[in-house]
Amino acid sequence: MFKDLFRSKPKYVTVRPQKQTDHLEHSEKKEIPGGLWIKCDKCSNILYKKDLEKSLYVCPKCGFHFVISAKERITLLVDEGCFSEFDSEMKTIDPLSFPDYLEKLQKYQEETGMKDAIITGLGKIKGQEVVLAAIDYNFMRGSMNTVVGEKIVRAFELAREKHLPVTIVSGGGGGARMQEGVFSLMQMARTCQAAELHSKKNLLFIAVLTQATMGGVYASFASMADIILAEPGALIGFAGPRIIQQTMKQNLPEGFQTAEYVYKHGHIDRIVPRPFLKDTLANLIAWHRR
């Protein structure tokens, strides 16, 4: 039922948090195995799944933020029933005819119920209209391809037309998607330009960097936001930590490329634990209303 709602044509729909688990069992297998009990990736405590749900998938023992899907993210942020999705049927044309790519996509589409790695739409956060986008780490590691790029560009364009703020939750571990080659690279250009046109109208853009925001996602729209928030512990950077370690042949500093580390180096405004995210966004949006 959750999925049906999301697939419906743009209109305000009810997204019920209590139905989330249906979806979780599909997409979050690695992070949150099925069954009643879940082991925390960080502290290894065994957690009761219902408790974890209530705590918004933040480990009650150690504060570890489990990866959540784009749908869950939107459910978490928008007022109940206040989200209408854009472009839900948009799919890639596979511009390079890259071998095995379409098969791979199909597998992810079936697993996640999404056509590609992003959901965009118009939502309300505490009564305030906002154009909202969430990248889904579980869909090919949230990598940016033509669909992700085009949906972000259109989201900014709509926001510009309607004079609305934009919030993007960017969990894109894979950066640019290899299988669409240079077209994925071009999405860095396009999303930067879209963010810039929006910005030139003096409209607000808030980026929420979640596990993980790397490569082409970080090096484009995500770091051009007016205000950059991040979830605790999220991996954030351009080059991947393993590549750096291999190339430099030296150990990485403690906590390298975590949200906390990047914050200390001046690239993030605030680290916001998940339970405070909606209120924070609501306040920031309210303070930028004209």
């Binding site: 390079l96 890259f98 077209f183 999405q187 930067c192 995500a222 080059a239 750096i244 430099m248 180096h265």
Partner: protein, 322 residues
């Protein structure tokens, strides 16, 4: 070709030329008239060269642009422009020797030129960090781009960069944000911008300098979201399949022209830019002048909107309803 690295696929040419030389010596030594045979062989050699160099695989082209004698940005600038006054520093943290920039004269007209700078030998490469900019390099580029805009000076970039630098400090000082800002700033400049991919056009590091109203590309250059080696690792768990990946990723100039990612291919001298630097410089200069003449006629608003439209077009998708 003394002191020049010979690539695998060039061996037949080199072997044949060696034979011709031997035959010449032999003829001279023995006082024989072998001129007809030598002429034939030389014709044969020319044909062979054309045949080999005109049918390079993607990988062979990559080998060519990674050739140690490939002209670097400094050498190309010297060949293309009448004058070049380098400006230094990002005014924030440092001066990045891996990226050069300054004011040059293209046919007497001031332009701002920005380019990653590889070294010509190991010592230089260590100084230049193999042409891999740190954030201060991108921020110097941003500063010079804004300076160019202020003085209504076109911006020309020469792009030859493997990709992002996988370094701790580069991450700490925000190479992601620096690249994003360079993309954004160059993408919105109110002056003509022309990018020339002269060698390696590696991912975000290249795109940061490639937001041109025109994007030109040297015949053998490549432009890719990921290095073929890395793609091979992702696809096959090791880098033995870089050649296949290079084909699949369609990163060569001909493919990119067909996909309209680039606007024009600048031909290279037979065998690559390093075989005839002067001609290479002339070809680039000619292409820059021709394109600049068109762009200089456009009003500022049009330059900006045309650039937006140029990149806006790379978002073709399917939108069938289920």
């Amino acid at each position: 070709m003394a002191n020049t690295l010979v690539l695998d696929f060039e061996r037949p040419i080199v072997e044949l030329e060696k034979r011709i030389e031997e035959l010449k010596s032999f003829a001279k030594e023995r006082n024989l008239d072998l001129s007809e045979e030598i002429d034939n062989l030389q014709n044969r050699s020319e044909r062979l060269k054309r045949e080999i160099y005109s049918n390079l695989t993607s990988w062979q082209r990559i080998e060519l642009v990674r050739h140690p004698q490939r002209p670097t940005a400094e050498e190309l600038i010297e060949l293309i422009f009448d004058d070049f006054y380098e400006l230094h520093g990002d005014r924030l943290y440092g001066d990045d020797p891996a990226l050069i920039g300054g004011i040059a004269l293209l046919n007497g007209e001031p332009v701002t030129v920005i380019a990653p700078q590889k070294g010509r030998d190991t010592k230089e490469n260590l100084e230049r960090n193999f042409g891999l900019p740190h954030p201060e390099g991108y921020r110097k580029a941003i500063r010079l781009m804004k300076q160019a805009e202020k003085f209504n000076r076109p911006v020309i970039t020469l792009v030859d960069v493997v990709g992002a630098y996988p370094g701790i400090e580069a991450e700490e000082r925000g190479q992601g944000p620096a690249i994003a800002e360079a993309i954004t700033v160059m993408g919105a400049l109110r002056v003509p911008t022309i990018a020339v991919i002269t060698g390696e056009g590696g991912s975000g590091g290249a795109l940061a300098l490639a937001m041109g109203n025109r994007v030109l590309m040297l015949e053998n250059a490549y432009y890719s979201v990921i290095s073929p080696e890395s793609a091979s690792i992702i696809l096959y768990k090791n880098d033995d399949f870089a050649k296949e990946a290079a084909e699949k990723l369609k990163i060569g100039s001909q493919d990119l022209l067909e996909m309209k990612i680039i606007d024009e291919i600048i031909p290279e001298p037979l065998g690559g830019a390093h075989k005839d630097r002067v001609s290479m410089g002339r070809f680039i200069k000619e292409a820059l002048e021709r394109n600049m003449n068109i762009l200089k006629g456009l009003p500022q608003e049009k330059l900006v909107s045309a650039r937006y439209e140029r990149f806006r077009a790379f978002g073709k998708v399917k939108e069938d309803k289920l």
